[in-house]
C-alpha cells in the first residue's frame, strides 16, 4: 500500500467519523417539544361574518424521521374541552353538540400526526412552505393540507400554520342555531414555539 492510499483511507475514516458525529448531533436536535402554543378556529357564519374559537392547550412533541422532504413522527394535540368562543352558550353547543367532547378520548382532543413539509430541508429551512398531516378529530381521521411559516429563533423554531377543515370529513354535523349557522368549512390556525426536546424555553 502506498503512503498516498493510506493517507486517503485515513481522511475517509476521519470524514466518516465526523459525519457520524454530525448525524448524532443532528439527531439530538431533531426532537422538538411544543411550548407557547395556541389554536384558533375561524368559523364563518351563514349570515356573513365569522367568529373565532381558541385554545392555548396545545401540547405534544415531534421528531424528525426524514430530512428532505422533512417528515416528523410524534403528534401535536389540542384539548377541545378548553376551546373558547367567548360566549357560554356557543361554547356549550360547540363542545357538546358538535365536537361531542364528552364521548371520550377520541372526541375530547384533536391530534395531528404524520406531519410532512413539502420539499424542504428540515435542518436548515426557514420561510413559508406547504405541509400535510393526518388529523384525528371527532372519532374520525382524515388528511389535512395547509401552509406553514417557520422561523428560527436561536435554538427554537416558531411555527405558524393554517389549514382548512371540512366538517363533513370528520362527521361533524353542520352547526345551526335559531337560523344562524356555521359554514361547512372552517379555518384552523396554529401557532407555537418548538424547543429542542430536553431544553426548556
Amino acid at each position: 500500500m502506498s503512503w498516498e492510499r493510506a493517507w486517503i483511507r485515513v481522511r475517509l475514516t476521519l470524514a466518516g467519523l465526523l459525519l457520524l458525529a454530525a448525524s448524532a448531533a443532528a439527531a439530538s436536535a431533531s426532537s422538538w417539544r411544543v411550548s407557547q402554543g395556541e389554536v384558533r378556529v375561524i368559523c364563518p357564519l351563514t349570515v356573513g361574518g365569522s367568529f373565532e374559537a381558541k385554545s392555548a392547550a396545545l401540547t405534544g412533541s415531534v421528531s424528525l424521521t426524514a430530512l428532505r422532504p422533512a417528515a416528523f413522527g410524534g403528534e401535536l394535540s389540542v384539548d377541545l374541552t378548553t376551546l373558547d368562543s367567548g360566549i357560554g352558550l356557543r361554547n356549550r353547543h360547540m363542545r357538546g353538540n358538535y365536537l361531542e367532547v364528552d364521548r371520550g378520548a377520541a372526541f375530547d382532543k384533536a391530534v395531528i400526526s404524520e406531519i410532512r413539509l413539502d420539499d424542504v430541508d428540515a435542518e436548515s429551512f426557514s420561510g413559508r412552505t406547504s405541509f400535510t398531516g393526518e388529523l384525528a378529530l371527532h372519532g374520525a381521521a382524515a388528511p389535512v393540507k395547509g401552509q406553514a411559516e417557520i422561523r428560527r429563533e436561536g435554538t427554537s423554531v416558531r411555527v405558524e400554520a393554517s389549514f382548512p377543515l371540512a366538517l363533513a370529513d370528520f362527521a361533524i354535523p353542520k352547526p345551526q342555531y335559531l337560523g344562524v349557522g356555521v359554514k361547512s368549512e372552517v379555518q384552523v390556525k396554529v401557532s407555537f414555539v418548538a424547543t429542542p426536546a430536553g431544553q426548556s424555553r
Binding site: P44, V47, G48, G49, S50, F51, I87, L89, L178
Partner: protein, 374 residues
C-alpha cells in the same frame, strides 16, 4: 336663539325621536360584526330575530341565562314563549320605553315623564323572503299618534345577494343605539327619517355592500312638506378580523323645493380588544350645494365596557361643526349606564353634556329609560 327655546328644542328632539329596539354595536366585543345576525333589518334596530332574542338572554342579561344541565325553556320568546313554536315563521315583539327626561339649559329646567315609544313589531320569514312591519304610539309636541315607520319586503339569496323594498332607514355608517348621536341626527338618520327606497345588497364572508335609491324621506313624501328629494346611499363594510371592522359610507340627496342638493361621506372603525370592551368611531363630512366655504364635520366615538355581566358603561365624545365654520357647532359628551337585569327589560340612564361652540352655552340632559322588550 334664547336658552329657553334651545331647551324646548332639546326636549322635543329627545322625546319625539323615539327609538325601537336598539342596535347594539357593543356586540362586536362578542365577535358579531353584522346587524342581521340579531335583527331582521340588515341596517340594525327593530325586531330581534330568534337568535337575537336568545343572545339578549344568554349574553346580555345578568340573571336570565340558561344553566347547563337544566331545561333552557323559552324565556326569551315573545311573551316569555307563551306561544311556543306555534307562531313560527311569524315573529312578534312589543317594545315600550317609559322615560324621564330632565334638561338644564343655563339654569332653567324642563322635566317630563313620557312614553318614548310603544310599538308592536312583526316579521314573517319564509323561503328567504321577509315581510316586516311595525306600528306604534309615538309622542308628538302635543299628544301622540299611532303610526307605522318601518315596513318593507326583502329577499336574501343563498349566495348573499339581497334586495329590500319599502320604508326603512337606509344603511349608512354605524347605527348606534343612541339615535340622537351627532353622526345620526345631523345626517338625517334619526328614527323618523326613513326613506322609501329600493336597497340592493351583497354579503360576502368578510364584506358587505348595501346600496339604496329612492324618491326620498317617507314623511316628506306623505306630508308633501317640500323636502322630497331623490336619495341614494351606499355602505361598504369590511371585516378586518372577527373583532374589528371598517365601514365606508356615502349619501346623496338631490335638491328639493326647500333644500339644496346635499351629500355626505364618512368612514367608521370598530374594534373590540377584549370580550368586554368595544370601541367605535366615525367621521363624516357633510356637503351642501351653495355653501362654498366648506363642509361641516360630524365626529363620533363610543367606548362600551361591560363592568359586570349585564352592566355596561358607555362614554361617547361627539362633535358637529357648522357648514364652512369649524369653530362653530356642538360638542357633546355622553355618559351612559345600561343595566340588563333580566331578559325582556333593561334600564338605561344617560347624561348628555352639550356645549354650543359659538355661545359657549351648556345644556345638560338627564334621560332615564325603562326599556321593555317583550
Amino acid at each position: 336663539m334664547s336658552g329657553r327655546v334651545c331647551g324646548v328644542l332639546a326636549v322635543a328632539g329627545l322625546v319625539l325621536a323615539a327609538s325601537g329596539a336598539d342596535a347594539e354595536p357593543i356586540f362586536l366585543s362578542r365577535q358579531y360584526t353584522r346587524c342581521i345576525t340579531c335583527h331582521y333589518s340588515p341596517t340594525g334596530g327593530g325586531l330581534l330575530t330568534r337568535y337575537g332574542r336568545s343572545l339578549s338572554r344568554e349574553e346580555l342579561s345578568t340573571t336570565g341565562r340558561s344553566q347547563p344541565g337544566h331545561p333552557a325553556g323559552n324565556e326569551e320568546g315573545f311573551l316569555w314563549g307563551a306561544f311556543g313554536k306555534g307562531l313560527a315563521p311569524l315573529q312578534l315583539g312589543l317594545d315600550s320605553r317609559p322615560a324621564h327626561l330632565s334638561v338644564d339649559f343655563g339654569g332653567a329646567n324642563i322635566e317630563r315623564n313620557f312614553f318614548m315609544n310603544a310599538d308592536l313589531l312583526a316579521a314573517y320569514q319564509v323561503k328567504g323572503f321577509t315581510l316586516y312591519g311595525e306600528v306604534g304610539r309615538r309622542p308628538l309636541d302635543e299628544g301622540s299618534e299611532i303610526d307605522s315607520y318601518e315596513y318593507w319586503v326583502a329577499h336574501q339569496s343563498q349566495k348573499g345577494l339581497g334586495f329590500r323594498l319599502g320604508r326603512f332607514l337606509p344603511a349608512y355608517g354605524i347605527r348606534v343605539a343612541d339615535h340622537t348621536a351627532l353622526t345620526r341626527r345631523s345626517l338625517s338618520f334619526d328614527t323618523r327619517d326613513q326613506v322609501y327606497a329600493l336597497e340592493l345588497s351583497q354579503i360576502w364572508q368578510r364584506q358587505q355592500l348595501q346600496l339604496s335609491v329612492g324618491p326620498g324621506r317617507a314623511d316628506s313624501i306623505l306630508d308633501d312638506d317640500g323636502r322630497q328629494a331623490f336619495t341614494a346611499t351606499g355602505r361598504f363594510q369590511m371585516d378586518l378580523s372577527t373583532r374589528s371592522v371598517v365601514v365606508v359610507s356615502g349619501l346623496f340627496r338631490d335638491a328639493s323645493k326647500r333644500d339644496p342638493r346635499s351629500g355626505a361621506g364618512g368612514v367608521a372603525f370598530g374594534f373590540a380588544p377584549t370580550k368586554r370592551l368595544s370601541l367605535w368611531s366615525e367621521a363624516d363630512a357633510l356637503f351642501k350645494q351653495g355653501v362654498p366655504a366648506g363642509p361641516s364635520y360630524a365626529l363620533f366615538g363610543e367606548a362600551g365596557f361591560e363592568a359586570w355581566r349585564g352592566v355596561w358603561l358607555k362614554f361617547s365624545p361627539q362633535l358637529r361643526t357648522a357648514l364652512g365654520e369649524e369653530s362653530d357647532g356642538l360638542e357633546r359628551l355622553v355618559f351612559e349606564l345600561e343595566l340588563f337585569p333580566r331578559t325582556h327589560w333593561n334600564v338605561d340612564i344617560s347624561y348628555y353634556r352639550d356645549r354650543n361652540r359659538r355661545s359657549d352655552r351648556l345644556t345638560k340632559t338627564f334621560l332615564a329609560q325603562l326599556h321593555l322588550y317583550i
